[in-house]
């Protein structure tokens, strides 16, 4: 049989529990806009009842736990998509920088080819005109310059990507050591089934940032949570972090080494790092080599056409373009050797007024090169590739963006704070608190009635 004191005890417990609930609610409201915050819900339970002569007596309420509401699977998906999007965005930024050089601006290779071809056709109608000949020299120089500029643009974008690799690796190392520190704070709780609360929120937020930098895989081991790169090189194992390193490799780029010194450059995928490596080691070198081949084969074809004819003084034609031996660096090193307009091999019979070799010179522009297509077709195919790479990266980024938005919506639907809900809870717990306070005041009143009854 419970006395008034038991009721007083129950009232006190109710006051404590609702206070806890009120503080959880106000914490939720305060953190409604904190990135990565996971709302907390209070878990009440009944206090053990007591058996007495008159039957079972309730023991009031207990506040058991504050539980953060999270969905680990959803978090994992968001991390993966974030890696994918950030990789696409990194590539897109690089490609947008590159495609400026392939856009028709009047300074691009297509415009320069046009002007060069025009100047050759002009000299066809006026083979002995010094100004028409000068036109061929100047437009040839412009064409070489356009090749140089485009090659520089590609090389610049590649070295930017290389810088991004080293910077991103440094950021990854900072993040992994922070994550390891938070893991150390969490480890007493791991395995107890208890929630990590704010520390876990912070850790999850850092892991999300990490997934933006590179693709990661997360697994559980006896040491706690393990984060590795996509190919399995460890980044964080429990409370220990393993830093990546970069080293200047013989190919002039920075390679990424894992903590054991293994070169993992080619297996890194996703995130800024994966995007920058993809751009630096695959996409841009592909463009560079096609541009170099084009410059090298075109220069060779035009020089060969020069050799078929004679200049205005009747001498056999000499090289018009100078191009580095071997294909590599051809576009960057292309230049015009001739400076005297009279040395263009326009004539086919050695007389100054003949234009018989112009057809051969023009053929270097219109006939297929050893690569199988003409200068203009080869360049057009390069423009197509550059454009497609850019539009693919952009399409990928926006597709993943859509998916990511859905996932984020789902996540905030699970873990996010709804102000209306919290306001309602506030009213609910306020009322509960008032009611519990009324219990205490009622018992106090009854106690004084009892005391007065005796006196």
């Amino acid at each position: 049989m419970g006395g008034l004191n038991t009721s007083l005890q129950i009232g006190l417990k109710a006051l404590e529990a609702t206070q806890g609930a009120l503080s959880a609610t106000s914490n939720n409201i305060s953190n409604a806009n904190t990135p990565g915050y996971t709302r907390e819900v209070v878990q009440f339970s009944e206090s053990p009842e007591t058996l007495s002569v008159g039957g079972v007596m309730g023991g009031g309420v207990n506040l058991d736990n504050l539980q953060s509401v999270r969905d680990e699977i959803l978090n994992l998906q968001i991390q993966q998509q974030t890696s994918g999007q950030s990789s696409a965005d990194t590539q897109l930024a690089g490609l947008q920088q590159v495609e400026n050089f392939f856009t028709s601006t009047g300074q691009d290779i297509a415009s320069a080819i046009t002007a060069f071809s025009k100047s050759l056709n002009q000299v066809s109608a006026a083979p002995a005109s010094a100004s028409a000949q000068q036109g061929v020299i100047s437009s040839g120089q412009n064409l070489a310059y356009a090749f140089n500029q485009t090659a520089d643009g590609l090389a610049g974008a590649r070295s930017d990507a290389d810088n991004q690799v080293t910077q991103t690796v440094a950021q990854i190392n900072t993040l992994t050591s922070q994550i390891a520190q938070l893991n150390a704070q969490l480890s007493p709780q791991s395995g107890t089934g208890k929630d990590g609360g704010t520390v876990q929120d912070q850790r999850d937020q850092l892991v999300l940032q990490l997934s933006k930098l590179t693709g990661i895989a997360i697994s559980q081991s006896s040491d706690g949570e393990t984060i590795t790169t996509a190919n399995g090189s460890p980044l964080v194992v429990g409370a220990r972090s393993y830093s990546l390193q970069t080293t200047n490799a013989s190919d002039g780029t920075h390679h990424v080494l894992d903590a054991n010194g293994n070169d993992i450059t080619s297996s890194i995928q996703g995130g800024q790092l994966g995007g920058a490596i993809q751009l630096r080691d695959h996409t841009l070198p592909g463009f560079q080599s096609q541009l170099d081949t084009l410059a090298s084969q075109f220069a060779a074809a035009f020089n060969a056409a020069q050799a078929m004819g004679f200049d205005s003084k009747g001498n056999p034609g000499t090289d018009f373009f100078s191009v580095p031996a071997g294909t590599q660096g051809a576009a960057a090193g292309l230049s015009v050797v001739l400076s005297d307009p009279s040395t263009i091999a326009i004539s086919s019979d050695g007389s100054a007024g003949s234009n018989g070799n112009v057809a051969n010179l023009t053929a270097a522009l219109t006939q297929p090169l050893p690569s199988g297509s003409s200068v203009s077709n080869e360049y057009a195919s390069l423009v197509y590739k550059v454009g497609t790479a850019g539009s693919n990266a952009s399409a990928q980024s926006s597709a993943i963006g859509q998916h990511l938005l859905q996932l984020t919506n789902q996540q905030s639907s699970v873990s996010g704070v709804n102000i209306d809900e919290e306001t309602t809870n506030l009213i609910r717990f306020q009322t509960a608190y008032e009611a519990a306070a009324r219990i205490v005041s009622t018992i106090q009143h009854l106690n004084s009635v009892t005391i007065n009854m005796v006196s």
Partner: protein
């Protein structure tokens, strides 16, 4: 489904999207271009490379046609003057061959024919914007110069080369006849015939003069035949000019199709994008500040 009241990411995303569409529509209208970078439409950009080069060449072919046309017309009208000079020489030969003509008359006529010869030589040495039209491909030097050792009194310094000028991607037109073919060929030697007429008038018999006159008549029809070459070239150039004009229109409309915009469509797109953008902004302004708190009375 539980809804989080944090709608900021959603609203931001839709605002960004409508802003992006608005920017793009605005750019299309202001530049008149649908494609401003290769990634906007890779295949149109690639096709534009060929289009740019083709239009540049077309431009030059058109200029070549008009340059060559004036050159050919000059050559043709020069030959026409040669023919009338020769006709004049034939009638002088007839006068000289007349039995009534005295020796003094013949000397006077010989002088006139000598004048015609010099006139024809200067016509044969005609140049057009710095290049000699009847010198073969050695067009930087006057082709006919006085040479007493030569039977005609003139020697040919040019060659027998012929230039072809490009007037289309796979079309070129021959633009000259070598001067030795027209004026001092092995079958008909115009300058030699005139020169022998002079000699016949000065020292020859009546029949010598008549023979020279007959040869001269043959030379007239020969030069007339040579003119056919220039007439054909003119015809070809004129029809190519028409073709190039049509082709220029074709290429520029292809360029519009590839990277240009349909103004009406672009303007409609812009208006739509504007409406969508202001709708998104208005929605954001209405939705963002609303919570239950707006409707609860403040605590007493």
């Amino acid at each position: 489904m539980r809804i989080s009241s944090n709608m900021v990411p959603n609203i931001l995303a839709s605002l960004q999207q409508s802003q992006l569409a608005l920017n793009q529509a605005l750019q299309e209208v202001s530049t008149g271009k649908r494609v401003s970078a290769p990634s906007d439409d890779p295949s149109a950009s690639a096709n534009m490379v060929q289009n740019t080069i083709d239009s540049g060449n077309l431009d030059q072919y058109t200029q070549n046609v008009s340059t060559v046309l004036s050159m050919v017309q000059t050559a043709d009208s020069t030959l026409s003057s040669v023919v009338s000079s020769l006709t004049q020489a034939v009638s002088l030969a007839t006068q000289g061959a007349n039995g009534t003509a005295s020796a003094a008359n013949r000397q006077a006529i010989a002088q006139q024919v000598q004048g015609i010869l010099q006139g024809v030589v200067s016509l044969a040495n005609i140049s057009y914007s710095g290049s000699y039209l009847f010198a073969g491909t050695a067009s930087t030097v006057a082709p006919f110069s006085a040479d007493p050792s030569s039977p005609s009194g003139y020697s040919y310094l040019g060659n027998s080369g012929v230039n072809s000028v490009s007037i289309g991607d796979s079309l070129s037109v021959k633009v000259n006849l070598p001067g030795n073919q027209i004026f001092s060929g092995s079958s008909v030697d115009v300058l030699g015939t005139l020169s022998s007429l002079v000699t016949a008038l000065q020292t020859g018999t009546t029949s010598d003069i008549q023979a020279a006159g007959t040869q001269l008549s043959a030379a007239i029809s020969y030069v007339g035949q040579q003119r056919v070459f220039y007439a054909n070239a003119e015809t070809q150039l004129n029809s190519q000019q028409t073709y190039l004009q049509k082709e220029t229109v074709t290429l520029s409309s292809q360029a519009t199709r590839l990277v240009g915009i349909d103004m009406a469509e672009a303007a409609t797109d812009l208006a739509q994008a504007q409406t969508a953008n202001s709708a998104a902004l208005a929605a954001a302004a209405k939705v963002l500040p609303t919570t239950l708190l707006n409707y609860l009375s403040p605590p007493q």
